[in-house]
Subunit: 141 residues, 2 copies
């Protein structure tokens, strides 16, 4: 059961590349963001700027919590709130050269982690399913 | 790296027990369901009946997709749609005696799997984080 080798490789081959990652741009409001989430079917996605610098993560729980009123969910507020005011900016990130071992540790508590290059530009996502799939294939040898 | 032993044990010790699992009851509408999801912060939960038989899974993507109109998300429809008309009924389930190995295979494609007992009653959830945590601890020996 030689997962050691696999765990010490870089996450690079496991990433969903940025061109296949759904995201929203800063400057958008929560209504636009919720539409993107609804159309893509994802529950959380990165928030980027036009240069593909990573600014944070936004999710349906964060959005719904932001418009939760005393008696009901206040959907009319969605187009009045900017995504950057609600997104989670306190997020761990990986470098594309980091090991799968390091990624696995972060994926215990997060469904996905963003990977950036040395210049800080968004390169892709490391997801739980990618790592679980690999672990599962090693276990079957 | 002896994960073999761990993988062949039952999932029982890894489950979130039913009393700690947020859920909705059949007979509720999507508005109530979305409130439960917002308050608990989860993106998907089981749908049960009063006897704790498992009926399906409901998630924010399923709800938002159900009220997605041609031009906007039609939030006013939430209290007019029953959760059983939108939930996913085609779901794999585990028995509490099933192995972690069997659970891991299902968790490649699903964030969590419901576990039932021999009578078909809901007993708990097997989540990706529970399995990743265990795998991670074995890798560090
Ligand atoms: N369109 C689809 N096709 C097939 N399976 C789908 C799917 N949408 C969701 N799933 C399944 O459901 C899991 C949870 O999705 P969720 O959107 O909550 O959570 C996702 C989402 O927040 C984010 N994510 C994944 N792929 C993405 C992408 N291409 N763009 C943006 N975000 C992505 O990473 C999280 C974890 O993804 P992971 O693959 O581990 O886990 C996914 C995957 O197993
Ligand atoms: N209140 C909280 N405290 C700490 N961490 C939290 C959290 N809420 C979410 N997370 C983290 O985010 C992951 C995705 O949560 P999500 O609600 O999309 O997806 C969850 C949710 O749909 C369901 N789930 C987990 N615990 C549940 C519970 N007690 N009741 C009902 N559903 C639960 O299983 C999925 C996978 O859970 P998993 O733990 O693998 O993965 C969780 C966990 O790592």
């Amino acid at each position: 059961l030689q997962t050691g080798d696999f765990l010490d490789r870089s996450i690079d081959n496991l990433l969903i590349p940025s061109e296949r990652v759904a995201h929203v741009q800063i400057g958008n409001n929560l209504e636009h963001t919720l539409l993107v989430l609804t159309k893509t079917g994802y529950t959380g996605i990165p928030v980027l700027d036009p240069q593909y610098k990573l600014h944070g993560l936004i999710s349906t729980p964060l959005i719904l919590d932001a418009i939760m009123g005393m008696e009901r969910i206040e959907f009319e507020k969605l187009d009045k709130i900017a995504v950057e005011d609600v997104m989670n900016k306190d997020i761990p990130i990986l470098n594309t050269n980091d090991s799968v071992r390091k990624g696995l540790r972060l994926l215990i508590n997060l469904p996905f982690v963003c990977a950036v290059n040395d210049e800080g530009y968004f390169e892709g996502l490391l997801t739980r399913s990618a790592v679980l799939k690999q672990l599962n294939s090693f276990i079957y040898k």
